[in-house]
């Protein structure tokens, strides 16, 4: 989630604006009171649905998601295998000084637990709890965006109903019927745009980011358990590369396979 996402949204709005500009009058599609009812309604309904802490957490998640550098699972595997090599050569305690260079807090925490000599069950239990708490928080964040994506067209329709009722009450002057109904439809238009170019894409984006992060953390968890277990670094690489798509898995027909065979016992 980076410039590409934002750019796509802007481009989407541009498409719509071009489409309006070539077929009609752009100013007909700008109506302050329509913006007021749609945005106001969505914001109020969302605030009524979620606590401030939850919404702050969503904002932070979005901020992080937009800033986050690419996740590269291959690099993570290299890193873990490197750690495993150090652990093999110099013992688990030697990993402590490595933790300073780690920027993934989950990896760092796991290695600290290994250095501390905690029980494997304790480490796994702590890290799995953290994983499931993270997963729940991601689901909560998406739930807010999904709710907004549902509120937006709903308040668009409420705005249109208000416009229609107003229009129908004073139906004397037939010449104003068209423009009035046109204004009424604008809120539905706004609601649809918000849902389909902002809230839905953001929710789907967060889902993808979350799934990838979750996969990464599972990989790290397996790696840490293997390191503590003192497994052969080659076996660890073998194990972890199962997390990669086929195309990224390294060719295995290397002279080293014999070494793996030996090391797995």
């Amino acid at each position: 989630m980076n410039l590409f996402t934002l750019l796509s949204m802007v481009l989407g709005f541009t498409c719509v604006v071009i489409s309006i500009a070539t077929s009609g009058n752009l100013s007909d599609f700008f109506d302050l009171s329509s913006i007021f009812i749609v945005i106001g309604g969505v914001v109020c309904a969302t605030c009524a649905s979620f606590s401030r802490e939850r919404m702050n957490s969503l904002l932070q998640a979005l901020k992080i998601a937009f800033k986050k550098s690419k996740i590269n699972l291959t690099d993570d595997i290299d890193k873990i295998v490197e750690i495993a090599n150090v652990a093999r050569r110099n013992g688990l305690l030697a990993l402590e000084e490595l933790t300073n260079e780690m920027d993934e807090p989950f990896l760092k925490k796991g290695i600290m637990l290994v250095v501390d000599g905690s029980d494997p069950e304790l480490i796994r239990s702590i890290m799995e709890t953290e994983l499931s708490v993270i997963k729940q928080r991601h689901a909560d964040n998406r739930f807010i965006l999904d709710s907004m994506a549902a509120y937006a067209p709903a308040f668009g329709m409420i705005g249109t109903l208000i416009g229609l009722i107003n229009m129908l009450t004073s139906l004397d002057d037939m010449s104003t019927l068209g423009p009035n109904m046109s204004v009424a439809l604008i809120t539905t238009f706004y609601g649809s745009m918000l849902a389909n170019l902002v809230f839905n894409p953001l929710s789907k984006r967060l889902k993808a980011v979350g799934n990838l992060e979750y996969l990464r953390k599972e990989l790290i968890l397996e790696g840490i358990m293997a390191i503590q277990n003192g497994e052969n670094p080659r076996v660890i690489r073998e194990k972890l590369s199962a997390f990669l798509p086929n195309s990224q898995q390294q060719s295995r027909e290397t002279p080293n396979t014999a070494e793996i065979k030996a090391g797995s016992h």
Copy 2:
């Protein structure tokens, strides 16, 4: 769920009222018989769908949810670690006098079970049963609100159909067509408002409150099992802090990590 939720709802209605007032006549949007059919329909359909006990339980849940002081997991962890310290120093029986100060019934019950010297399996089984019963009751409560959120627009549409059929039956006087249809649409408007500014937000709110409460009770359960198991208070803190979001977890680079290492055996 507190003033913030209520305020947001009121603000949402205010937005709609302002929007109406600036574009038309507020009195056109007030129609007693429309209120009657929408509210009456929703209430009757809900009563037909759920037992009185279930609805009382929902009302109580809402009352509690609005009153409830903030849940602070960090405080809960501090409390449990404090209890663990007492247990370490003075034995499990010494916890009995602590229970008087506990205001979380789930924690209190668990500690009582520990004091009674019950088997760990029995404690876990009792507390997990209670957790799943609570979870089911929360789901049931949300189900009522979700049903009301579905009934509201449905009866809105039924009201509109009644209005339209009435209007179409006596189509002689075209001048009344507009106002009649306007009245017909008002029930749909009411139904949408109820669903999107009352029932849906309340349901989502209860869900968030429930998730947090559930997380808290899981934390307490893990804490109690660890206390009974006589685990080191530092290890317990380590274990339980996995329930916190990353940002709230305390820095671990303290001189005490060695102590954890020692204590985990």
Copy 3:
């Protein structure tokens, strides 16, 4: 599910009738051929979707649900604890004469299995199979009602389409357009009413009844396993009271807690 449900439905229909009577002409809303297409369509589609045995089973479930006396979990716990006391005093074989007074077939069957001296695994397996078969049958029953709730508006719309097509084919006389369209809309009205005041409420009602029955049977299962295991009646009460909502759980600060402590070993 008792008079309260039926009354609510009747009241819901009354609301709609009052609403019609005050705003128009009740006779305009009664149209035999519209009733024919909606009811006929729903019945035929439902018969095509489910076997006669399945629908008979639903009817029986509804009959039972309406007759059923209130489920009181506290009474069930008292009963099970009483049985456990007899078993403690006079042995498991003494339970045989108690079974004559039991009106819950699931409890009776379980006790019979205990009296027969069956293996705990066999008892658990038999009772869990029965539970899951019951759960499946409940889900099947709800599925029929949910299907009817979906067919009703669908055939309402089909009826309206027929009306509209008829009306549009012979558009010569504009004076009949209104009444014709009004008749066309009546089927949609009927379909909505059936779905929202009959089928949906019944389905939700069966779900609630089923959930409660399921909880009760789980409670009984745990109780029977504990009785066979020869557990202390007080511990059994402790265990089973976890199935109750907090508000119904008895205060535990009684002088007997020491006894539980002793009994749990």
Copy 4:
């Protein structure tokens, strides 16, 4: 799924035809080009969504479902108990000659595996794999019908859009507006009919048939495992009768209960 299903569908169509005939002109509802777009669209979209093998498999499933004789779980239990009796008297090898009379392939296969003296784990693994493959194939079949039930109204709407666009392009002659729009609506009518009187009922029917078949196969699996385990035929009947609804379970207050007690050890 037998004559009853077909008859219900035919009756449903008859209801609609009667409803049309009494309110308008049947010939107005027959439009070849509307049939062409709806049927053609649904068939093409379905073919694009599923492979020929999948659709053949659905057709076969429908054929079997319509032919299939009633499943009677009580008979299955009698059969299995009878087999268990033979196995007790004459040994597992004596079951081989019984397999010729078995018409349920799943039962036959299981008995063959028992006769072959396969490991219990192997038998369970093979039969559970087969069960889950069958379950998946049933789900796939229903998925095709559900897709068709979704495509039908979609192409109905596409046809209506084509009709409306045609009509609106040439709006000169207002007298043709009605009939043109009437023709436009016919595709929506066809789509709704197909979905609600053909595809949806068939899908629900397959689901029910599949659930019952699945329950039966689970019963057979449990029975075969018990036979191989050499369990007492009475205990087997006890175990398997848990699969029956309460009403069909035989009264247990027979003099033979003592025998069960003895046999379960």
Copy 5:
């Protein structure tokens, strides 16, 4: 997914074109700016929802799905049994030279792991991780297509709203009302066509392809575990043929059943 899928789509579009050509003017249904808003909107919303890597992965999946030769589980079983025979005769190491002829990467990888002498737990863990990663990627791919199938009608409606608002703003000349509204409806028409003849079928197709591939990989996994376990090739065939539909399972009444019996120990 091959020519058959593409052909069906083309045929579906042809149906619609024929339907238009016989009822109106084809050129009325071609509108560049409508294509622009629908395609532009769908592409932008999709780009905003998913990363470029994800969309590349979908394109590759579609390319592979269209090229892929038929999956024939019977052939896979033959192959695995053949490998098992070689392993029995010449030992596990002899399998290395067979891997060159294997074109299924999953099978190849598994056999390599067996040749390497890895632990059974390691092999199962690696292959199950790979399976679940593949499953997740398939689900992700379908999620993109499902999102596009939802965006298409949404932007169709947005286009129609733009058209309606334009039309209603300048309602002076009633003679242009029809054509203008007709143009407005074209975007909805485009959106429906895209969803129902392109995105939905592709998504369903990928699902079927994925399910089959997943079943195949599960079969391979079971086969490899059995080979490593040194099981009798006949038992392996028995085990794996449970993955086939009943109709494809070979008749078991062969003289070889005795051999299986002997071999299973």
